[in-house]
Each structure stands twice: as structure tokens, then as C-alpha cells.
Symmetry: C2
Subunit: 358 residues, 2 copies
């Protein structure tokens, strides 16, 4: 076929983002358009910002945020293995996209879904998948407003989400300053631990989790939650300086905030929140716990920075709302991301880096 | 795999839309959400409206429209055959999505793209594909604000587009009234003719188009145009009662306006705009010209209705903008869609119906 006869190199996704996408779509910010009456939309964060979502300022009291995620990729090994149903992957598709809206501090108003499937997929399976999408949308209070359905060789799932936030309220990745506290809304590593455990890494030992713990583990994939309430608290507090979700892993999230904000971070190993099941799976599979917590686990926690003297007030706002977060380190002038171990030694963050394209 | 062990029936896409999607997502209109300061977003047309896009009213002077289209499906036979490059399919992806915004009478402000590809795809092919997307966006003046890139077994292309329109200015499918004129912005059938011609239907005869005509024909796929200027004229005129694009074919478009508005239409065969190349391909391939013009050709014209006594004024607005449209019939009380032949005989509209899922 004419267009792919070339034999050039094929870079991975991070390289393409940096070398191809960023130059091609650079300089978008400031783009604006007006309607006939003069009403105006202005792009505040576009493709070159590489944030969870793009952000538009529009005339009136709000900003519009929007993002897209394709989810039916190699990460759905657990679907192939029979641990996830069609309902589950529909639910997951919706929540993965809604999480990007949450990470901007916005309120989701719409999910658009692309659901393609083999012609042989029975109506009841299609229905179940759509019910998963619908129920995830209900969970966060936003409607699934349409999209595209139709046939393909296999199930293809992609979506876009749109949200609104008060003018000036979008949580970007760029605002962290040296001295800020680094925080995360909850334990990470569950999604990766489920892949290790159910994917067979630990089954050779014979040791197994209890049924209840297996359920807790798989729920990271079956019922992921977009942390919309937390994101809204972060945005409306007015004291959060940067934020993103941990869908590429906690390490990738921290590194991304560092790069976008032009700071470094010291992460305190002893302060990382640990889920008991994650610790148990690490033991069963001879894994390094801190690597699992920091590595490329597709959890949907929010990692963010807050001005040092505002952290305790934010903590109270969260507590009043029945929510919590964990203070895991601080931002530094020096542009390096380091882990401080319990013994005081400092080193690079362990854990697999983001590897979408591997 | 547990979830697809069932042996139920598998309906086609139109059936699933009617029997599964519509009931599941019914009653969305009127949904609303408020931000802390009271700013509000309200869903005016959701999944149950089955329009080109969903529409939100928001506080301030505008409405937001949004839609998603997956394009890398069986229709890309011409890509497999080497008639379309990676640049072309990138361009197509963008324009197919932007056409939905045009059909709502809105101004596109953003395209979100999902581009997944085999790991072996060379950087230069990836770059070319993204350049096609970028250039199509430039053509209509809207930025590609991001989305999702990464690997998959084969090229998967999906996108979402977002637009803004003056409050009350969205062009829905629901407003046609008996007596309204039925109009279309230009000739249809080019995309289907290109598939017939280059797909081999006519090659057995030995007769061929000139090179210039071949170019004109394939451009329906290589450089489709989202008719944003036309859509804006239709919206700001204030006299258009319903509208959609012809991406499912002209027949499907007319039938859809009829069903949504609760009217019928008489289409005048003699008034249908005919592209010379379409007529020539129909002759070469022994096809019925009217069936090709009305059938499931993925053109991106706009089909719309306008109040009878305003049609001439709208015609002048278009002419002043250097644009045109064709009056092809009128809406009737009787809820049937009929073709009136040159000899006065009336019958059903010929042409393949919409067949996305076949």
C-alpha cells in the first residue's frame, strides 16, 4: 500500500509526543474565535500544554475543559482473561475519561462514547457494555450524550469528556512552586497489582489472596472512580497550584508536574499511602512495594501541589467533606525528582515509567 | 471468555440505536448542573435526540455543541487499495468530525483526536497523518487540542469536535414544518461514485474517466470539506427550521429530518443537483444515477429546511457570501418521503439506505 511502503524508524509514544506532536501543535494558546454578536472563546491550554484536558475560556462565568481517552488496548489483558465483563469495560471507559475532567477540577457535563464491535456481538453484550457506561456516568452525575456506535473487527472503545469549571478554576500542571507540599488523594498501585496477580505473576507460588481481597483488587479495574468531588474541592479551595491524575502512574504524575512547573520534588517513602492488598501482592509476587506504588499503575488518584501554608486549611476542607489526602513530599528549586528512603538516603524514584506505547 | 459466551442475536446499528440506545438514554433533555457560583449548564439535545451533535445551553451568550465520529472502518477500502495516503485519512478524520459541528450551525473551536497505530508505523507516516489532521483544522480555523496517541494492532482513528453557537442558534433536526422548502448545499453521490469506480465496479468495461475527472472523484475522500461557512449562514439567518449533514447519504438525511420533525417530504428528481463525474461513473458502471445521488454516499453536504416565504431571502444571503444551495422539494403534512419523477410519477426514494453496520 502506497502510504506505508517507507521503512523509517518507529518511535515510542513519549518520543512522538515530544518530537512530533509538540512542535506541530506548538503556540496554540491564545487562539480565539468570536461569534457574530462578539461572544468569544479563547484557548487557554491546548495540545502543546499536554495537560489532562484542553481548556477554553469563554464569555460568561465559566471555562470549558475537554479530553479524550482510548481504553481498549493491551491494558485490557484482564478482559481477555475473563476477569472483566462487558459491563466492566464500559464502566471503565467512562471513568477513565471522566477522571481527566476531575483532574482539571471541573464538573463533568458530558461523555461522548465511541463503541465499535464485531458484527457477531450479541445484543445482550452490547446492552451490558452500554449499561456500564450509563451507570458510570450516573455515578458522577453527567450524561452520556451520544457518540458513535457501529461495527469493527473487534471491540474498540474510545471516549471524550467535557466539563465546566469556574473562570480561572482549571487545575493545570504548571503552577507548582518550590516549597509547595506534594499530595495524593489515596493509595496507588492497585491496578498494577491486579495485573500482576490475575495476570499470573504470582500464581506459581501457590499462595493466594482471600476471596475478599481478590475482590478488592479487581475492583480497581471493575469500578474505578473518577474523583470528581475531590477535584472540585481542590479547585474551589483556590490554594492548589498544580494537579493531574495518576493514570500513567504516580511516578509519571510527579515527574510531569515537575517538568511542567519547572521544579523538582522530594518524595518521602515513609509517607506514601499503602493499600494492604498491594503490600500483600508485592510479597506474594516478590515485587518491590515502593516500585509498585510509584510505577505505571493505571489508578485514578489525583496528585497535586498546595502552597505550604495552606495545606492544613485544605486538609480541613477535605475532612469537612468526608474526604482525605496524603502529604507525600515537597517541591524543590532543584529540578530533580528524588525519593527519600526511611533511612534518609535519597535516590531516583523506582518503578516502571509510563509505557503506553510499549 | 465469560462475557461473550452467550449466543444471542446481533442486531444492526440502526436497530440498536432504536431498540437499545434510545430507551437507555431517553429523557436526558433538561439535565442540568450548577457550579458553586450558580453558573449553569443545561442539556438541550442529548443522546436521545440523535442529532449530529449534543447541545448544551450554558450561562452566557452561547451554546456548546459536541459530537464524535470513528472513521477507520470498512469505508476506508480506498486506503487499503492505495488511493488514500496517511495524510488523506488524517484530513478525513478531522473533516468528518468538523462536519457535525457545521451541521449544527456552529463554529468549531476544538478537535480532539484519537490516533492509535501499529508499533511498526514509521515516524514519517505518523507525522504525515498528524499533518493531515492539522491542515484540515487550519482549513476551518479550529485547533486540534489534543486527545490520545499510542499503539494498537492497526490504525484506529476517532475524534470529537466541539463548537460554539449563539444562544438559540443550534440547528436541530426537529423543526421542519409542512410547506417548508427542502434544500441541499451541493451535489451528492461523489463519495459513493469514487468507491464504485476505484473499488473496481466499472473497471471490467475498459472505459475510464480522464485523469482530471479521476482526481475530481477521489477528492471527495482526499479533501472532504466541512461546510462551516454554510452552516453559520444557515444558523445566523434565523429562518432555517432543521438541518443535518449528508454523511449517511441524502436519502437517510431527508428521512431523518422527516422522522425527527414529524413531517414528510416530496423530493423533485429534476431538482437534484448532479455532478458531471457522478453521472459519468453511473453510466460507466451501469448504475442508476438517482439511486447514487440519494444513496449512502458519505458526502458532507448540508440538507435543511427553510420556511417557504424565507427561501428567496436565504438564497440572497448565500449568494452575497459567494455560496449556493439547491431547492429540491418541500415538506408535507403526510409523513411519507416520496420522489416525484420527471414524468410526475411518485414513488419511494431509491438508493441504498444508511448501512453503517453492514
Amino acid at each position: 500500500m502506497g502510504s506505508t511502503q517507507s521503512f523509517g524508524t518507529a518511535s515510542d509514544e513519549p518520543t512522538r509526543l515530544a518530537d512530533i506532536i509538540a512542535p506541530m501543535f506548538g503556540g496554540q494558546s491564545g487562539w480565539s474565535q468570536r461569534l457574530q454578536g462578539g461572544a468569544r472563546a479563547e484557548l487557554l491550554a491546548g495540545a502543546d500544554a499536554q495537560d489532562d484536558c484542553a481548556v477554553f475560556g469563554i464569555d460568561g462565568p465559566m471555562e470549558i475543559v475537554m479530553g479524550s481517552d482510548y481504553v481498549r488496548g493491551p491494558k485490557f489483558q484482564l478482559y481477555e482473561l475473563g476477569h472483566l465483563s462487558n459491563y466492566d469495560i464500559g464502566y471503565y471507559l467512562a471513568m477513565a475519561n471522566l477522571s481527566d475532567i476531575a483532574a482539571m477540577g471541573a464538573l463533568p457535563i458530558a461523555l461522548l462514547t465511541v463503541v465499535r464491535y464485531p458484527r457477531s456481538l450479541p445484543d445482550e453484550d452490547f446492552t451490558t457494555l452500554m449499561e456500564g457506561i450509563r451507570d458510570a456516568c450516573r455515578q458522577v452525575g453527567a450524561p452520556n450524550v451520544g457518540g458513535d456506535i457501529g461495527s469493527a473487527e473487534r471491540i474498540i472503545l474510545s471516549a471524550s469528556a467535557v466539563g465546566i469549571v469556574e473562570r480561572g478554576g482549571s487545575l493545570l500542571r504548571t503552577g507548582a512552586r518550590a516549597g509547595d507540599r506534594l499530595c495524593v488523594t489515596g493509595p496507588t498501585g492497585l491496578a498494577a497489582s491486579a495485573q500482576r496477580y490475575f495476570g499470573g505473576v504470582g500464581t506459581g507460588t501457590g499462595a493466594k489472596l482471600t476471596r475478599a481481597k481478590e475482590e478488592a483488587l479487581i475492583s480497581a479495574w471493575r469500578r474505578p472512580q473518577a474523583l470528581v468531588r475531590q477535584g472540585r474541592c481542590l479547585s474551589t479551595s483556590g490554594v492548589v497550584t498544580s494537579c493531574q491524575d495518576t493514570s500513567d502512574g504516580l511516578k509519571a504524575g510527579v515527574q510531569s508536574l515537575a517538568a511542567a512547573s519547572g521544579v523538582g520534588f522530594v518524595v518521602e517513602e515513609g509517607a506514601l499511602p499503602v493499600d494492604g492488598v498491594v503490600a500483600e501482592v508485592a510479597r506474594l509476587t516478590d515485587g518491590d512495594l515502593t516500585s509498585v506504588i510509584l510505577g505505571d499503575s493505571v489508578d485514578f488518584q489525583l496528585v497535586f501541589t498546595v502552597a505550604e501554608d495552606e495545606a492544613s486549611r485544605l486538609s480541613k476542607v477535605f475532612a469537612d467533606a468526608g474526604l482525605q489526602f496524603f502529604d507525600i513530599g515537597h517541591a524543590t528549586e532543584e529540578r530533580e525528582v528524588r525519593l527519600r528512603r526511611a533511612d534518609g538516603q535519597e535516590g531516583d524514584l523506582p518503578g516502571n515509567p509510563w509505557r503506553h506505547a510499549t
